[in-house]
């Protein structure tokens, strides 16, 4: 019997309202230990997939399966536990400006119930993994963009997660720092971590030489495997007639919300997304 994929999206649709859709029927699989780039322009649906996988939102239709478990079966109470199995790297780093590098990582550890002794023991090792230990006592404002992103990755590693989701991790960085971040992600992948990266940086993706899923207007446009071979998308929605196309408001505007919706972290169930 064939092994189930680690991540599986089956005909997933996400619509925010009558006029804004995040995904229009996406099916894709990611194997355990794989490194996958979700590539596309703003509004193509790549960040929506990251949010789906981290249970920040739920699909309108279809099913998202992570490690053999349909996420639709995950209750709001179980979401924190699920998130501890996933490292999430946000595009804007999400660092606390009034805390030093080690405190930023330590704070996240304390928030998930680790003791001060555990923080003291483990933070240096985590910072070492992303090569930022030498700046442990610096404040985020004293760091370069690449260094800040490394701290954000370090924070995502506090649970030693088998899956790392990164939303535009190089979006705010220059090419040199982008390479640095991608190399860190490649190293983590080499250590066995499954990595899904949402990015619009095509050049960066090409240099990495990993599987790429090209997204466009809420659909998988094209897939390129690690060897550079192009593949057809796993699911293509049925073609609409011109009349249907004009009458379906989802076809009028396909976009992810441009703003960062407010999230109430006390209600983790189906809240929308940080950018």
């Amino acid at each position: 019997m064939a092994q189930e994929p680690y991540i599986s999206l089956r005909k997933v649709e996400v619509s925010y309202n009558d006029y804004v859709a995040g995904l229009r029927g996406v099916s894709l699989n990611v194997e355990k230990g794989e490194f996958v780039f979700l590539c596309g322009q703003t509004g193509s649906g790549k960040s929506t997939i990251i949010r789906l996988l981290s249970s920040q939102i739920k699909p309108t239709k279809g099913e998202v399966i992570l490690n053999n478990r349909p996420l639709s079966q995950v209750t709001p109470e179980e979401i924190p536990e699920l998130r501890r199995q996933i490292g999430i790297v946000p595009q804007d780093f999400g660092l606390l400006p009034n805390k030093k590098v080690w405190e930023n990582v330590g704070y996240a550890m304390r928030a998930i119930g680790r003791t001060k002794a555990e923080v003291r023991d483990q933070v240096p090792t985590i910072l070492e993994r992303v090569n930022i230990l030498q700046r442990a006592d610096a404040y985020p404002t004293e760091l370069s963009g690449g260094e800040q992103q490394r701290v954000a990755i370090a924070r995502a590693l506090i649970n030693n997660p088998p899956l790392l989701l990164a939303d535009e991790p190089t979006g705010n960085l220059d090419p040199a720092h982008s390479d640095e971040i991608i190399n860190i992600l490649l190293e983590l992948n080499a250590q066995g971590t499954t990595i899904v990266v949402a990015t619009h940086d095509v050049n960066q993706v090409e240099r990495a030489g990993k599987r790429v899923i090209m997204m466009n207007a809420g659909l998988v446009d094209e897939e390129i495997d690690a060897t550079g071979t192009h593949r057809e998308p796993a699911f293509v929605p049925e073609m609409s007639t011109p009349e249907e196309t004009s009458s379906n408001p989802l076809n009028v505007l396909i976009a992810e919300p441009l703003s960062q919706p407010t999230v109430n972290p006390t209600e983790t169930a189906t809240e929308p997304p940080h950018a």
């Binding site: 925010y16 999400g94 996240a108 928030a111 998930i112 119930g113 972290p265």
Partner: protein, 295 residues
């Protein structure tokens, strides 16, 4: 465990310090609300105690008709005894009353030896002052009772006290509700502001999978702290206010002010403040923005 408590408390302290202006405003509003509620409650309880103390002293005189037979007079006493709210009935014959009056007012009674104008008299005491008017009405209509002024109360002050107590109850309730709502809105807003000012921390907690309780408890502690600090301020204000009243009343003869129940007040208000703060902050945390939620 201690480590976790320390973390949650430190988070709550950070929240309290983050919005000092709003924290101060919500503590003041809570204090005001609790001063009103606590002040009215204390006044009501004090007055109620005073009124109840007066019950034993309160009497109603019932005069029998001049032409009533001894059997009718006895029957009148029995009927009065059966009425609800009546504690006891004592009887004095017209001769006894006349003798007492002659002793008290010899100048007025001189020359009236042959014609005793006094009626047979019952003195009625009560268990409950609220029943006085009802009893008075029933007794007045009894045929054995003298038709005009056959029933006399020892003082109308009781009615006045009853009215004051009823007014206090309603006024306290109305003002208390208004100020409690105002204070509640302030605590609610303060918690919302805290959530907004700490959104980065809260977001990090969310991303790394912090338990819901880790996110909520510091915010609840913050709300409870507002309520409890407000309660302590309210206790202080009431204590000072009581001292002022005591000083003023000491100049008025026969006035009596009960001692201030400091610990009972502080404990009751702190408990009320804690519950109040908890409810308000819990409402603020549960309020959930619905922007761009997928359907």
């Amino acid at each position: 465990m201690l480590d976790r408590i320390e973390f949650l408390l430190s988070e709550a302290i950070i929240s309290l310090r983050r919005n000092r202006g709003m924290t101060f405003a919500s503590i003041v509003a809570s204090a005001l609300a609790l001063v009103i509620v606590g002040g009215f409650t204390l006044t009501y309880v004090g007055l109620s105690k005073y009124v109840n103390e007066q019950v034993s002293k309160f009497e109603m005189k019932v005069f029998a008709r001049q032409d009533a037979t001894p059997d009718q007079v006895t029957n009148l006493g029995n009927q009065i005894k059966k009425l609800e709210g009546v504690n006891g009935v004592s009887f004095k014959s017209k001769a006894e009353v006349w003798a007492e009056w002659k002793k008290e007012e010899p100048a007025i009674t001189a020359g009236l030896e042959l014609d005793n104008p006094m009626p047979d008299t019952y003195t009625v005491t009560f268990k409950n002052l609220e029943k006085v008017n009802e009893v008075k009405g029933l007794v007045s209509n009894m045929p054995e009772v003298a038709p005009n002024d056959g029933v006399q109360l020892s003082g109308e002050v009781q009615d006045f006290l009853q009215e004051v107590m009823a007014s206090l109850r309603w006024l306290g309730l109305a003002l208390g509700i208004v100020t409690l709502i105002t204070g509640g809105i302030l605590i609610y807003n303060t918690i919302r502001l805290t959530m907004n000012s700490r959104r980065k921390e809260l977001r990090i907690m969310e991303l790394v999978g912090a338990a819901k309780s880790t996110v909520r408890i510091p915010l609840l502690i913050e709300g409870i702290t507002h309520g409890v600090l407000g309660a302590l301020c309210a206790t202080l204000i009431l204590w000072i206010g009581h001292g002022v009243i005591l000083k003023v009343m000491s100049g008025i003869p026969f006035s009596k002010v009960a001692p201030f129940p400091l610990f009972a007040t502080m404990f009751s208000l702190a408990l009320a403040g804690a519950i109040y703060g908890y409810i308000c902050s819990n409402l603020a945390i549960r309020e959930n923005p619905k922007e761009a939620t997928p359907r």
